[in-house]
Amino acid sequence: MSNPILSINQMYTSFHVDGETIPAVEGIDLSLYPGEIVGLVGESGSGKSVTSLSVMQLLEGTPGKVTGGDILFENQNLLEMTDREKRKLRGNDISMIFQEPMTSLNPVIKIGKQLVEAIREHQSISKRGAEKHAVYMLDQVGIPRAEEIMKEYPHQLSGGMRQRVMIAMAMSCDPKLLIADEPTTALDVTIQAQILDVMRNMRDEHHTAILFITHDLGVIAEMCDRVAVMYAGRIVEQGTVYEIFENPKHPYTKGLLGSIPKIGSRAERLDSIKGQVPTAEDRPKGCKFANRCPFVYKHCWEEEPPLFDGENRCWLHEQKGESL
């Protein structure tokens, strides 16, 4: 296999609020290879968005900071780059799309101008050439009457159209890595289906690696090659999409899969996970899932399980880990 395009090693991110340090992400390892879609799934407060912001180096100006580990993009450590180097990388080699496209587009600038600016920021290309490229990109993401849309303002478009514009913008510089943070969560399912198609095509045609962050396991099953499940600032399990859905090992993954209603199943009840995600301050001492786990035993409260086999953090799998 080729070298990973992105590799996150033992990354820690915490927030400093009122003299206190609140750990958001505590030591995660994750790699992405070219052309691969990796899902990062978890509930609110699990640290998945903080992970994406850490990789994009977008925590500046917030109380958050990457406090340990490293983030390698094509073997260059993002944490050691100058602002200038980072700026060049973002938008050029790494792009990001967010959940709410309205907040990421400038409401008083026409779509066309925003696209052209983004393209010219990173490529030496004439204005006319950038305009042509922008129309081409809008066309690529399935926007009808692309030339007219260029002259419109973001508010004149529907949510699905705005998200497509964002994808067109993110893809306009042909990035090697796309980070998509809940890109379809605010959209209706029929529109979501269209957007997911667009993203899949992008991967197939441009070999873009995509880090797909979502809470929706259905979307994960549909889009991803590999999946990392986050809980309380850690990756508690990772594997191929088949391993995760067909043979989940961590009790949290199992609980999560049992919690979602499956259409047409005629189930009378859903399995659920008792209690709720602990806040960063109230995480239990040992295993962070101990207070909600149906299989918890004494050891779980005392010591945090390491990542066994590099795939799951649960003491139940300790034996297997030792034998290898």
Binding site: T190, H215, A221, E222, F245, S259, I263, V277
Partner: protein
Amino acid sequence: MLAARTKGGIAMKKPLLQVEGLKKHFVSQKGFSKRSKQIVKAVDGISFDIQAGETFGLVGESGCGKSTTGRMIMQMLEATEGTVTFDGRRMDTVSGQELKKARKDFQMIFQDPYASLNPRMTVRDIIAEPLIVHRLEEGKGIDQRVYELLDTVGLPKKAAERYPHEFSGGQRQRIGIARALAVKPKLIIADEPVSALDVSIQSQVLNLLKDLQDEFDLTYLFIAHDLSVVDFISDRIAVMYLGNIVEIGERDDVIQNPQHPYTKALLSAVPVPDPRAKRERIVLEGDLPSPSNPPSGCPFHTRCPFAWDRCKNEVPKLQRGKESSQLASCHLLDG
């Protein structure tokens, strides 16, 4: 299981809620000129019945009019046309006083558990308020009933002294449910009650709603955009598109054997949590048309992969297909 939920017996009984030809047309001004008025047809003539003890799911994408329907039934919004009959009484014509009394029998649970609870009231006061307003309990009885309700929805007694902001989303939704249950309603209208919650919490609340239904003989009108959730909880389902019901029937018929092209497309778009699931996706072209300028004929014809001339000119009626027992509004069923 309740007798009323067995399918054979339903037809004989009088429905708890009857909605007949319900319309809501909002008039909005376009631009600054007073003359250029625009009529937004949020709900454009829908009818359905809900039997006592059943869960009726109303599903559709944003802007289809499902929430507006819920608010008209609650009488929080005046209908432009049509009638709402609850337990044999016309709700749209009763006086304010009578409506206030009648509201005891139908309660609502909202989507946003952060916005629907008064942040300056303790949980005790929030749950006690309907008991006092409807004079259901007095003195010590109030506290006792509040504790009882907290226990019913799975919250500890000590929750009563605390304020909404001290709770998580799932717990707040439980508080909202306790408040709705306080007056022993017959019908609960739940508008996207779980869509703001994380999946592990969503399943807790869905299970709770099912348990409460069995325990208190509740009838639910469950409004949501998530087909998997609606499929899980409902006995019957109506699918809305652009202010109209396009398909209505027993849950299994609608989900397993959809007849309307929109229902088919919607079902095919739902992401399935199984990486090996075979997907035959019907991708819909374009966006939802604006309800202020709805298409002629069938409201779905602009996006329908099967549309032909007739669909542009003639509004299809809800009808039964040859191989289905539910109703759908599509000219294809004439065949």
